[in-house]
């Protein structure tokens, strides 16, 4: 394979997963992420892996749960309505503390919605979606290269913390093509002494379960899990800052919205407006420290989103509402243009949020 490969975002996820040592893919087709399944269907049989199109999303997430419990690197992928169907399984996986990678290439909702790109599953990804107290590490790629690198990172984080990593992409990044490079590196192997690999009558049985009928025991499980989440919040936030050094306005955007916003920030700079961009790469853990530091310097924030305004709540929480936050958004499959973001920046410059 040549050095630079021209890939669709969805293909990049699939190839990166294979290179990260994933040999188990369970899924069910849905636009606009079907290329992930198509790529896996083509590749897995050639490398001794398993590609299985399950009878439903519910079945596929439970197959992921089973394979994860057996200690192998495993993934599934879907788009918004399909991820809703997987929600129960996501909660069970979280309650069992097994590692998995789940991809959501978002489309417009709610309901059956549409097939055009969206970021309106931010709440679902970062605040739950399934029942109970749990978190997932949520990674938001903004390029085809990041679709690959964050998929690899997602597997490592999942194994390191025994948690689900979710790639929260959108239809545009899934479908668009860019040249990318894969670094030659062997996947990190994590010891999994808890995995269900067969005792060979040499050790006690391992049990993977999320059922704890004694409330004291279940409470302790939750407390311990939240201690793990605290460590992740401390160590794993990722973000990119662009032109923030002297900025007195801050645009916050992730994924495809951040690319549009970046062009708008560059244009605003040409007009003499001191504006910068913070792009959260992890949506959970949210880059709270970066936002809090910015709140001490800038006069306000603009949250650019392909939703009715979901991340904006985390911007307000992270900055403890010290400064005003305005919303520049499109929804339902529409993407804001650089001019629309620029207009929001110009308004904010005049003090209108």
């Amino acid at each position: 394979m040549a050095d630079r490969i021209l890939m669709k975002g969805n293909e990049a996820i699939a190839e990166a997963a294979i290179r990260a040592g994933c040999r188990h893919y369970f899924g069910y087709p849905i636009t606009p992420q079907t290329e992930i399944a198509a790529y896996m269907a083509k590749k897995m049989p050639k490398i001794g892996g398993v590609f299985l199109q399950a009878e439903s999303e519910v079945a596929s997430i439970n197959m992921v749960y089973g394979a994860a419990a057996a200690g192998v690197r495993v993934m599934t992928s879907s788009s918004s309505p399909g991820v809703s169907l997987k929600a129960e399984g996501l909660s069970y996986i979280a309650g069992s503390d097994v590692p998995a990678l789940v991809v959501n290439v978002q489309r417009g909702g709610p309901g059956l919605g549409g097939i055009q790109p969206s970021q309106s599953d931010y709440f679902q990804a970062t605040k739950g979606g399934g029942h109970g107290d749990y978190r997932m590490i949520v990674l938001a790629p903004a390029s085809v290269q990041e679709m690959a690198s964050l998929t690899m990172k997602g597997f490592d984080l999942a194994d390191k913390y025994l948690i689900t990593s979710m790639i929260l992409a959108d239809g545009t990044i899934g479908q668009m093509m860019e040249p990318i490079t894969f670094e030659d590196s062997e996947p990190t192997v994590y010891e999994k002494p808890w995995a269900l690999t067969g005792t060979e009558c040499k050790r006690p049985h391992n049990v993977v379960n999320s059922l704890y009928l004694k409330p004291e025991e279940l409470e302790k499980k939750n407390f311990d899990r939240y201690e793990k989440y605290r460590v992740i919040e401390e160590n794993e936030p990722m973000w990119e800052e662009y032109m923030m050094e002297d900025a007195d306005l801050c645009v916050v955007a992730f994924g495809i919205a951040s690319r549009v916003a970046k062009n708008a920030v560059a244009e605003a700079r040409k007009q003499g407006i001191k504006v910068g961009l913070i792009r959260p790469i992890t949506l959970w853990p949210f880059p709270t420290k970066a936002l809090r530091a910015a709140a001490d310097k800038v006069k306000g924030f603009i949250s650019v989103e392909l939703s009715m305004g979901q991340m904006i709540e985390d911007v307000r929480l992270a900055t403890e509402s010290k400064k005003p936050v305005s919303l520049c958004n499109r929804a339902g499959g529409m993407i804001p243009t650089p001019d629309e973001v620029l207009a929001a920046i110009v308004k904010a410059e005049k003090g209108e949020f």
Binding site: I5, E35, M177
Partner: protein, 223 residues
């Protein structure tokens, strides 16, 4: 530029560049004074469709046949009834943009008999060695056979669109000659065209290159 057939079909692996090539070829035909009709028979890809170029096509007097659901929020793999005009109206030059892989090529099945009976067609296999599933001659030929089985038509030629997006240089195209010739040798199909974005095409000598004007998108990073 070249001798044209009445019908020209572009098929290949998804992401090989079929749509851009079909649109540019249709425009080239129109500029030669031909009455041109382009049909988007892509039943696979939800985004990046021929319809994105509707304005440009209209300006050139080219008729666009496209699913009324393309680029909308309705995920229906339908083929418009007007598509029959391609095989029935012999006064037009038809350009057909098929969906990716064998699944996309199924759409052609219902027209295959008529196309073969008329016998005035060119079916071009669009290839790119920088795409992950067609990076070798062997893999490329595998995809080709799948498409032929689904479409009930045989390819007649190859279009080498080997590129790495915005990073393509004339060297990229020249370096892909051995690959394209390899596919040609194994399949017995002639290389009809090379394709490259206009500024790249200008730097290539000695190859039959169709220069492409590409669709611009506002999430392309300009900085």
């Amino acid at each position: 530029m070249m001798e044209h057939k009445r019908l020209t079909l572009f098929a290949g692996h998804y992401g090989s560049g079929k749509t851009n090539i079909a649109v540019n070829y249709a425009v080239a035909l129109a500029k030669e004074g031909k009455k041109v009709c382009i049909a988007d028979l892509d039943i696979v890809n939800p985004y990046f469709r021929t319809k994105d170029s509707a304005e440009e096509l209209e300006k050139q007097g080219i008729t666009l046949i496209s699913s009324r659901y393309a680029n909308t929020n309705v995920d229906l793999p339908s083929i418009p009834a007007e598509s029959y005009r391609l095989v029935q109206d012999k006064s037009i030059h038809g350009v057909i943009d098929l969906g990716g892989d064998d699944r996309g090529a199924y759409a052609l099945g219902r027209f295959a008999d008529a196309i073969r009976a008329e016998g005035d067609y060119r079916m071009a296999f669009v290839i790119n060695c920088h795409r992950p599933l067609t990076s070798t001659v062997e893999d490329t030929v595998e995809i080709m056979k799948e498409i032929e089985a689904a479409s009930h038509l045989q390819f007649t030629c190859i279009v080498n669109n080997s590129n790495i997006g915005s990073e393509t240089t004339p060297g990229t195209v020249l370096d892909s000659v051995a690959y394209a010739e390899g596919v040609s040798r194994v399949t017995g199909l002639p290389i009809w065209l090379y394709t490259a974005e206009k500024s790249v095409a200008e730097g290539i000598e000695g190859l039959p290159v169709l220069p492409l004007t590409l669709q611009k998108k506002y999430f392309d990073l300009t900085i």
